[in-house]
Symmetry: D2
Subunit: 309 residues, 4 copies
Amino acid sequence: MAVHRFVPTSYSNVIGTLPPVLSVASGDTIITTTLDAAGADHEGVTRAPRGNPMTGPFFVEGAEPGDALIVTIDRMTPTRATGWTYSPVSPQVVDPRTVADLPKSERFEWAIDAAAGTVKLIGVSERISGWSFPLTPMIGCFGVAPERGQAISTATSGSYGGNMDYRRFGPGASIAFPVAAPGGLFFLGDGHACQGDGEIVGTGIETSFEIEFTLHLRKNAPGRWPRCETATDIITLASGRPLDQPLQFATTEMLRWIVEDLGVDAAEASHLLGQAVRYDVANVFNPAYCVACRLEKNAITQGMSLFGS
Amino acid sequence: MAVHRFVPTSYSNVIGTLPPVLSVASGDTIITTTLDAAGADHEGVTRAPRGNPMTGPFFVEGAEPGDALIVTIDRMTPTRATGWTYSPVSPQVVDPRTVADLPKSERFEWAIDAAAGTVKLIGVSERISGWSFPLTPMIGCFGVAPERGQAISTATSGSYGGNMDYRRFGPGASIAFPVAAPGGLFFLGDGHACQGDGEIVGTGIETSFEIEFTLHLRKNAPGRWPRCETATDIITLASGRPLDQPLQFATTEMLRWIVEDLGVDAAEASHLLGQAVRYDVANVFNPAYCVACRLEKNAITQGMSLFGS
Amino acid sequence: MAVHRFVPTSYSNVIGTLPPVLSVASGDTIITTTLDAAGADHEGVTRAPRGNPMTGPFFVEGAEPGDALIVTIDRMTPTRATGWTYSPVSPQVVDPRTVADLPKSERFEWAIDAAAGTVKLIGVSERISGWSFPLTPMIGCFGVAPERGQAISTATSGSYGGNMDYRRFGPGASIAFPVAAPGGLFFLGDGHACQGDGEIVGTGIETSFEIEFTLHLRKNAPGRWPRCETATDIITLASGRPLDQPLQFATTEMLRWIVEDLGVDAAEASHLLGQAVRYDVANVFNPAYCVACRLEKNAITQGMSLFGS
Amino acid sequence: MAVHRFVPTSYSNVIGTLPPVLSVASGDTIITTTLDAAGADHEGVTRAPRGNPMTGPFFVEGAEPGDALIVTIDRMTPTRATGWTYSPVSPQVVDPRTVADLPKSERFEWAIDAAAGTVKLIGVSERISGWSFPLTPMIGCFGVAPERGQAISTATSGSYGGNMDYRRFGPGASIAFPVAAPGGLFFLGDGHACQGDGEIVGTGIETSFEIEFTLHLRKNAPGRWPRCETATDIITLASGRPLDQPLQFATTEMLRWIVEDLGVDAAEASHLLGQAVRYDVANVFNPAYCVACRLEKNAITQGMSLFGS
């Protein structure tokens, strides 16, 4: 249960089987920093090419294909007093006949007030300069090396994780990834101070972070897509296009989980999901869209656990 | 502000320009009953063919194309002590490679306990017989006559409403439909005692209801898709396939609403949606899927109103 | 085997259970005229509201739900020397990020030279004024009354036919529609002098026609979607969104047809389709997209027939 | 203009920036062999893991990002007398409600008769044992190293090529790929003796080949997606999901090509595509679907060339 302080000196714009920057044991905690999506650090200095440069990979001793690597996000502390957004709503999320009316892309700065727990637009029109949103940090892009020695751009996502941009992947959440390479090889970056559903403007509020997280290894774990547990919810998340596809994959993964952990059959799992399921549109902007299938924790879901029995 | 008690004697399986069953004034309240999706009434007697038979249409004096007809759902009281579900999760919402493993369709009965506020499976395996869910009534299918004299099956939905199957369309919600025919011609039915996101098992808990609702006419109203206001949320809802499409239409409709009511421009509306938007998957089962674009009411949305200024 | 000359005096912008304009026997031929998509006749005079006004409906004696109504397109003669197009490629068929660069919509006239068998742009820039295309007439929108008394806009399509906009639905083709209402109630209109795949500019070359067609009734016919036979091909066509969906429906319909007519099983039908199938994107513009599943006639398909054995 | 005979001794299941197996000059011809999709060679001996093992990569001197690498497929000679298929039509291409009725996957062998130019099922039921199809070889998976040092599974495809499974990519076709890594790094494999549109059974007729191809370098070439020229057609091909997306990307790429090579503007390009465009569904099976946008060569397209002026 060691705590490692790791200061990154290089970053990667792909998630793949790369040489690890640090080797840790299951149960260890790591405190490190992440650049923002454009590669800027806590001082606003560009340290890596744009496009979600990753800190890592971290090697977890004993992790083998077939296992799950579970990351618990313990803390996310913004390391700058500002974040940025860039685009209006994406052409992908509006009626195609109205795309030509969309405003131009333009960088905006947001003040991050950690004490007040808010983010607020800076230097915009009087009318909206008072608009503020809650500070709700999350990790946009993280995961483990994908199968077959692939190295995949941090623009996209898959069963290995990646650029999922899901607003519930913040402090207090534990997320399990299916291990495909020895050591798992965990990467993380692209922190957001806040983000709506779907990341429909192409960004959250992008900034640099200090992140504290703990890695657990679960041997011979059943998941095929990222699974997550928070204080209040049981979640599966999947990737694909159109939105129907990640919804299908996430639903199937949730059905598997219910059957495994509650010991019920497929028909019974249907009864549960039919009346209780919630779907979140994680991102509808990246090359692969992400949908979360979610169950609020209640009496029925008590037997379900990310960490196994 | 009259209150009409209307006892239906015939039902329709299309929503269209049909002879009205009752004519009312804007502001009037109607108390009536609805059959369940299979056409059964409070005694379980089949009174109409299956497939969401509608009560109505109700003619609202003065309603003309270009107006909005706003229905406020005042109360939904189940008129039976049971409801039913039929299917396991739909082939449409699981990984196509797993469809062959889905269990068979089979009718299940649920006990509706209005006093306890729960619905509970009846006569199933010991293991899950304790599963209960909150009683959360909603109207599955309602709307106004579509444009051009069309008459459209209650299986599907469109800008005129129809079989939207959205769980937030319950008591306390007000929903505005764009009027396309004189009098608006409002239909309703297909009540659910409970439903998860997406109606992924093809039904909510289907039962008959007594419903009390109030109709308001808003002249020269701007909406192109159903808009909704609840105690806590501002919502637009749209229909289409794949899920991307209703998400696009609902987002565009919300952008229009923000610009209209808050007096901001498109870039500013993007700033609001980007960080605050929530999407709900209303149904991912019917011929037309429905997605809701939602903003939780807060300081920023205070200027937005379904009823106009 | 009568031949009826029918001069329309009214038109419909929905396809539904409307009073028939003429009653005919199976095997009869009808010679009539159609307006262009905007409602203009052979003199360019607007006779009906825009949006594919239909000639019909024609009642076929003895047609009942469960039968198929087979229309053979015998001849299509343009009744004007010009046709028109309106739009550039649709926002729906380009990369969303390039929609804002699309040119404006603008009406263009095309000269129809029936003798030369060409259509040619009129009054455009020198550079492209020489561009001509073969005259290849087709019917954009036709079909029978849909089930349950529905009346559906001629903008869209379904299992009953409608606005399919498929370029192989021209002279020589026979198309079978599943009958859903007594008499079938056949409608037709929206003729094109030429059209590319997908109708990606939102129109073919729109003009008015004299059309000669023959109606055959096939009792107790198995089709669930339009089926077609031409001199060279066996075709099924279906509607939906995204393109994946009509492709699915059309493939399933073709598998059914192969199994029925060739007496093979599902695995064998797969072997045939796997190596021989062709897909045509009929339209990727209308509210419902259409995809055709096609087999070129060869030794294997000899047992397949639209008209039954 | 050297001719290289290259005998592969290792294979790759990803397409990426790997050490080249051979360096050649622009204009050189390579004669080499490919394994079948399961990794079997001309003797049926498994030489590499299943999943489209690639021969290559070939380094082309002088190739830099921004250039195009054009491969002309000169000849494809099957090196076995048999090929195989495995699956019935995919769950992805049928009505979801019928998936449960699909037959089981089962390996079938096909006799390849190069002299007769046919492929024929072996050892199946009497009824279909006479079914034969034309021998029409094509390369299922080929392309260049993708951008940013990615290494991507040969199961899928992208702007760099990959598992496109397009039946027109056979002898006589020239295909240009956008270079993203120094030397381009060209890979190829997954030859099919025959394939229908969409590769809807998940395979063509899979076999090993001797392939002769020529590599040309075009400096500063404009393409963003694979472009192709055959004796009869001008083609762009793109990847994504649902089918709408690769159709969009391929259409946009074709519009660019028309504007570049014919010197017309966007509106004029629309006039051409609107009446002349053809779409081919290359594959509707792989993780990324592929659609080809195609123009039959005619007087208008004479100014268009893959190789530049």
